[in-house]
Symmetry: C2
Subunit: 336 residues, 2 copies
DNA sequence: TCTCTGCGTTGAAACGTTTCATGCGCGTGA
DNA sequence: TCACGCGCATGAAACGTTTCAACGCAGAGA
């Protein structure tokens, strides 16, 4: 049904080896022959079969990426950065969604292994180290994204520092009773941000922190947490909320301001994490911790490609620093 | 470096054919042999090479999808729906971003053709019909997403009806001077929504519509449009804005309310399109037109798989109906 | 004239899987 | 007892590419 390199060779009156040379090392073939081959290709509408090429090469040219949640703007930005860098050097980026589930993550890694991917980028949900070690043994390098590791190269943001930044900001505004609204503490980023938060709290005897853990890092999960907070007696309510990401924060904001009768930042100051594009257009524009998401993605691909080319390379750990972006949700005086 | 089916066969003391049978038609092999083969697979850590399998099979089990903008929640939801349906039947979904650029779109289609994809889903940026016709000739079916077509199956939403819904709502609130803030009119959805809007305007002699076209369908593009509107003298300003999607609407909202001194919905009523999750947590919660994004993705995969199995099938066109979701940005009285 | 170089081209091997015609051994019915 | 059918297992062929050792040939140098 499809023209193969053999058909092209026959049509152009050359051998298959020559056709392949025209495609892959044009300098090795005379202009006249190349010309004839190109003509044959065009006439037959020949399209290279990547499966065969890959089989021969032993590995794919594609890079696999498993993310916690593609619908989260932080991750889609990250993916964007990675894709751009990958395409730049002739690689494709295959995206998978783990939904923070270890089994979905594992399925994608299996798939990537079957495809003999050029390399794999993971923002891990479960404990992937053993699995990645297996991949490495089979010649597939990996880079962890948005999390550090002792065993693999990684590109991450200093989440402990981010937690410190956030809580230090809240404390500097005079807030004393902080709630940390977060997802499962098994997610490293969630735990690290809490760790940073606690460090700051430890330095201020009169400040307390309470952990409100939800099942997911999504807007509805945040809304649930916010509803619970709004239902409390005012005296019992925290005067500040640090949310583990902006989606949670937006959910909290929604239920505090729109359903409950709690004002932000009057009654409760609110700070998110990631500084997604929507943070600034929220009901009350959201103070947040910004991460250089695109740069993270691009850097991860960069490192991955280097390791794929030179497997003996030592592992590296790039750590970006987060940045505080102050908006109305923590402003000293209520916005408007 | 990697164990092959041959190694497994040797280890288990059977032929390669038998190993393949164990993997693909377990019923054809005696339990005892199957047992031995499974043991060998485990011992050697054998992982099937998908490239070889694909080469033999003639086509990949993956489905390719090209979207206008993966970072747009409408599309990531859509992709999510598609992915779930695809995985359900043992297919992988490969995602590509066209960024509304015809050349990027073309690159992905080339890639998908080289990979002999099982099928292709496209939300088209450029004019893809000819290209898809080529793919079809080569045995790769395609389904258009979020756009109708005469030549291919499609799953879309009635954008003309959506435009009507939006503007009828604005008119019912007594608004007379409507601005349509949109992206390039070459994008079908953008044009269709305008068409719908114009139909309603045509029925009301005292209502006018003005088109404010931007280069992209993004938040910053919307902000630019909003800034321009805010800069006008109040008498010269529209009393309602219909934005071609929620991202634009959020941008408009941002610049009207936060930079300019225009109140929403007091001075200007604002309606978006897509009803993304963030619409409800905007500065002023956004009235919008909801589309069943996940169902669209799932349905598209469904149809694609049927066509892949039965290429002679007649083309189908599924059209979902949009739905109006009223929030504060068009409420009769200002919110709060 | 003969040998040596180097350029262009050739054709076969190899990548790892699935498929399919073939073969073998055993029990069953005639 | 023989033929037959049935259940399993076999191994070669095929998929389409890239690579590589080998080859032919023309021109240069001896």
């Amino acid at each position: 049904m499809n023209a193969s390199v053999k058909d092209v060779a026959a049509r152009a009156g050359v051998s298959v080896g020559t056709v392949s040379n025209v495609l892959n090392r044009p300098d090795k073939v005379s202009p006249a022959t190349a010309q004839r081959v190109h003509a044959a290709i065009a006439e037959l509408g020949f399209v290279r079969n990547d499966a065969a090429r890959q089989l021969r090469a032993g590995r794919s040219r594609a890079i696999g990426m498993v993310l916690l949640d593609v619908a989260n703007p932080f991750f889609s930005e990250l993916a964007r950065g990675a894709e751009e860098r990958a395409v730049e050097s002739g690689h494709a980026l295959i995206l998978g969604n783990s939904d923070e589930k270890a089994d979905r993550e594992a399925r994608y890694l299996d798939l990537f292994e079957e495809q003999r991917m050029h390399g794999v980028l993971v923002s891990p949900a479960g404990d992937v180290d053993a699995r990645l070690e297996l991949l490495r043994e089979r010649g597939i390098p990996s880079v962890l994204v948005d999390r550090g590791s002792d065993a693999f190269s990684s590109v991450s943001v200093d989440d402990v520092a981010g937690g410190e930044l956030a809580v230090r900001h809240l404390v500097s505004l005079g807030r004393k009773r902080i709630a940390y609204v977060c997802g499962p503490l098994t997610i490293r980023q969630v735990a690290d941000r809490l760790e940073g938060a606690r460090r700051v709290v430890a330095q201020h005897p009169d400040v307390t922190i309470e952990v409100v853990s939800q099942a997911a890092l999504t807007v509805p999960a945040g809304a649930a947490a916010g509803t619970a907070l709004a239902a409390r007696a005012a005296a019992d309510r925290p005067d500040a909320v640090f949310a583990a990401n902006d989606l949670l924060a937006l959910g909290v904001l929604q239920s505090l301001v729109m359903l409950g009768d709690v004002s932000v930042p009057g009654d409760v100051a609110l700070i998110g994490y990631d500084d997604i594009a929507f943070a600034r257009s929220a009901v009350v524009p959201l103070t947040s911790i910004r991460q250089p998401s695109r740069a993270i993605g691009a850097t991860a691909v960069e490192i991955l490609l280097e390791e794929a080319a030179e497997p003996t390379l030592e592992k590296r750990a790039v750590v970006f620093q987060p940045e505080l972006v102050v908006r109305a949700s923590t402003a000293a005086t209520p916005w408007r």
